[in-house]
């Protein structure tokens, strides 16, 4: 590893030697391991267990940086990958290495890099370790600001595909202008305006003997953000030319995406409304891959990201082939001293979101909807489809009762189209009501206890769930927790999922040890999801940084 780091430093050239000498070295390390056991209640027998019994995902980042230069690398060792992560992550090696330097205002990155243009609907490379998701580019990226307020980016590269790279080459350009920075006359204006545009093109050779495939597929986007006092208004539109792929069943229709949002906030009050329309917008570095592992773009889910366990049972995953939806959020702080607000005031957070199919019509009488090797379908831009994918209303009330006690109560109502979202497990439209009560109590200085009581009721899928959690924290070093999920409404088998865990933190190093059962389900972050298998075992997590 040292040799490679020194190699990167050497490659940067003698021009930067002066700057390199006064740099900083920092890094971080994370290791998650689990031992897996049989479990008759969960139906896990010897045959279902991983042959290794013990699995571990570990990585370390090491970065050297000076004022105008940085170089770094990440070493990963997944021997072998934890259950629920793609087995193509099994292995070890340097999966990310880069050198970046800035000369005369030109910022140059060679090697691996993450990037986002606009909202990400046209291009976004990022890492979400909990999902096992990493679509980093390997190539070259340039950033430059030729004039005040004008920011340009261009890149060319291939995306990471586990321990390999995807077949396609991605080229991209993004430009953004801040009118208030660029034009002196607007520098004092109350309204701040940002305007941006992007072009992305991918190349993949056409080797298919049946389809005449576009080897170069381009997309373009335009966006603006407007800030006026307490108001923010923004929108982005993306257009993608014909991109037949395994995801859209090899249709040649164009893709379109529109995301718009408006928000207002002042002390004690905030409001936001966002809407989106996505039509045939899956964009992969490899047209033959149906998953999201080499997505060039990111399509936001526009739903609330929940943290409470039972509220994460039915998470929404973006439907790239077509969806329309809105999300609105309201937060309000009831003044302290009022009847409702009490001595410390009360927070109210309400959220509503939904997603529907888009309108689709046959291109002609003889062609089935979405038939491969055709234009697929036509779609009225402003017309909703007939199928509801998702709907959720949630309200959260939080109130500090006294100096020691704080209470949070939540109610969530979810409509979840399992046929469309989950796909493999057909339970129709699942309608669930979730209630959560959380209490945090300070026993004495540095000692606090936190409890959660949760309940999910539904007549579909696995029926009702109840959950309880007790967590005791001794700041800043220790925590102990016990929780149990009980699927008491399951007609097939009523199963308990107990978990006990403890952690120790010293400085920037943290150890956490746990034992218990994990329910099978879907885990999503921002609309990107992975399956989590059921398991029983001991887990150990270590994180550290320097």
């Amino acid at each position: 590893m040292k040799k490679i780091l020194y190699g990167l430093l050497f490659c940067a050239g003698s021009i930067f030697a002066q700057g390199i000498q006064n740099g900083q070295l920092n890094g971080n390390f994370q290791s998650n391991s689990q031992v897996y056991y049989e479990d008759a209640d969960l139906g896990i027998s010897t045959e279902n267990l991983p042959s290794e019994r013990f699995l571990t995902n570990s990585f370390a980042n090491i970065i050297y940086s000076t004022s105008n230069f940085s170089a770094g690398m990440r070493y990963e060792a997944n021997q072998n990958s934890l259950l629920g992560f793609d087995k193509r992550y099994n292995g070890e090696g340097i999966t990310y290495r880069y050198a970046q330097f800035n000369k005369d205002g030109l910022d140059i990155t060679v090697g691996n890099f993450y990037e986002q243009f606009g909202s990400g609907m046209i291009l976004r490379a990022y890492e979400e370790r909990n999902l096992g998701y990493d679509n980093a580019f390997e190539g070259i990226r340039l950033k430059y600001s030729p004039f005040k307020g004008i920011y340009l980016k261009s890149l060319v590269g291939k995306q990471r595909l586990y321990f390999d790279k995807a077949e396609g080459i991605v080229r991209g350009f993004d430009g953004e202008i801040s009118l208030n920075e660029t034009f002196e006359a607007l520098s004092e204006a109350k309204t701040q305006i940002l305007i941006g545009g992007s072009v992305v093109s991918k190349f993949q050779k056409d080797l298919d003997p049946i389809y005449i495939l576009p080897e170069n597929v381009a997309s373009w986007a335009g966006r603006f953000n407007l800030y006026h006092g307490k108001w923010i208004l923004g929108a982005e539109y993306v257009y993608k030319y014909n991109d037949p792929s395994a995801t859209n069943n090899f249709i040649y229709k164009e893709g379109q995406a529109l995301l718009a949002n408006v928000s207002y906030s002042k002390k004690g009050f905030g409001f936001s409304l966002a809407g989106k329309r996505i039509d045939n917008m899956s964009s992969n570095s490899d047209r033959n891959l149906k998953g999201q592992e080499v997505s060039i773009n990111y399509l936001p889910a526009l739903t609330k990201q929940h943290a409470y366990t039972l509220a994460t049972i039915y998470p929404y995953g973006t439907i790239a082939n077509g969806e329309m939806g809105i999300q609105t959020e309201l937060n309000y702080k009831v003044k302290k001293g009022s009847f409702i607000g009490g001595e410390y005031g009360m927070g109210i957070l309400a959220n509503f979101s939904n997603a529907y199919s888009i309108h689709k019509a046959q291109i002609d009488e003889d062609t089935a909807l979405g038939e491969s090797g055709t234009l697929g379908y036509t779609s009225d831009f402003f017309k909703l489809g007939e199928e509801k994918y998702f709907q959720e209303f949630s309200i959260e009330l939080s109130r500090k009762v006294n100096r020691k006690l704080r209470l949070v109560g939540s109610y969530i109502n979810t409509h979840y189209n399992s046929k469309v979202i989950v796909g493999y497990d057909y339970h129709g439209m699942i309608k669930a009501n979730i209630v959560v009560l959380e209490a945090q109590y300070k026993l004495k200085p540095k000692h606090s206890i936190r409890t959660e009581i949760q309940h999910l009721s539904t007549e579909q899928h696995e029926g009702n769930w109840a959950m309880g959690l007790v967590e005791y924290t001794v700041s800043p070093h220790y925590f102990f927790a016990f929780q149990n999920l009980y699927n008491y409404g399951n007609e097939t088998k009523k199963v308990h999922y107990p978990n006990i865990s403890a952690g120790y933190t010293k400085g920037t190093t943290r150890f956490a040890l746990g034992y218990g059962k994990q329910r099978q389900g879907i885990f999503c972050v921002g609309g990107v999801c992975r399956e989590v298998p059921k398991s029983n075992g001991i887990s150990l997590s270590i994180t550290s940084s320097f």
Partner: protein, 281 residues
């Protein structure tokens, strides 16, 4: 001036990105003209790893049918039911389409863990990860492999005995090009026209009760990895004869069944030739 120089470079990048687009106006497909093969043609084994609870798998099955229509006898499809989606359930999915050999292949090549549906074309590419192909990649691999001359040719003959519901099979393998590797001959039985439940995400309802399952692997007569053809060096013109027999299960309909044979390189698992005949022909 320096600013302008960089600015022009970025504008150049913008122009290149924008210009890099191929818009296909139609037609979107082209007709494949398959040269007529009269004698001792190369024949490709297409393994479709599937499961009756796999909702995306009917699309792969359709692709196998499409390729069979295009390439005729030169493509031999086999549907291998294995993995999570092939498990039986008490409700609808009661038919057990799995086989011991199919399960072993699935475990060895990693198909179902890579996510159904997928398949292998002559098992080419193993042990690199690119031996597992999405159904959208099958056509290009078939086309590519058919460009080569056959290394061997298999002739099959079947005798079906209706009274005992059994079949005897004789095979003759002819080596057409010298090969320096051990070879294995695999004989399996397949059945088409089986009506049973299949999940299909494009159908409404998704669990289709009367789905027609075709080319379903029913049994291997040569274990998981076939029977050794006896040598490690073969020369052009070598002939190897083998015979086999099998009792068919009561539910199997002989008229819908085929015998599929294929020769694989024992060391690399790559298949060099396949053949298919109907049991009752």
């Amino acid at each position: 001036m320096r600013n302008l120089k960089y600015l022009f470079a970025f504008i150049g990048a913008f122009a290149i990105s924008l210009a890099s687009c191929d818009v296909i106006e139609g037609p979107f497909t082209e007709e494949i003209v398959v040269g007529e093969c009269v004698e001792k043609c190369k024949k490709i084994l297409l393994e479709d790893y599937t499961g009756h609870k796999c909702g995306n798998c009917p699309l792969a099955a359709e692709k196998a049918v499409e390729l069979k229509e295009i390439y005729g006898d030169q493509v031999v499809p086999v549907a291998v039911h294995a993995g999570f989606f092939a498990r039986t359930e008490e409700s609808h999915f009661t038919t057990d389409f799995t086989t011991d050999a199919g399960d072993d292949w699935d475990t060895h090549f990693g198909n179902s863990t890579a996510g159904n549906p997928n398949g292998m074309v002559n098992r080419a590419g193993y042990p690199e990860s690119d031996h597992i192909l999405q159904h959208s990649q099958w056509a290009q691999k078939v086309q590519q492999l058919l460009q080569a001359e056959p290394d061997a040719y298999i002739e099959l003959e079947a005798n079906y005995n209706a009274s005992t519901h059994s079949v005897s099979i004789s095979s003759e393998t002819e080596i057409l090009q010298s090969i320096s590797a051990p070879l294995s001959l695999n004989i399996i039985l397949t059945e088409s026209g089986i009506i049973a439940y299949q999940t299909d995400y494009t159908a409404e309802p998704m669990d289709v009760p009367d789905y027609e399952h075709n080319h379903v692997m029913r049994k291997s007569l040569t274990g998981t990895w076939g029977t050794d053809l006896g040598q490690t060096n073969y020369t052009d013109g070598d002939l190897i004869n083998k015979s086999f027999s099998a009792n068919l299960e009561e539910a199997w309909i002989a008229e819908n069944m085929s015998i599929v044979a294929f020769i694989s390189n024992t060391n690399t698992y790559e298949i060099i030739q396949a053949e298919e005949i109907h049991i009752t022909e």
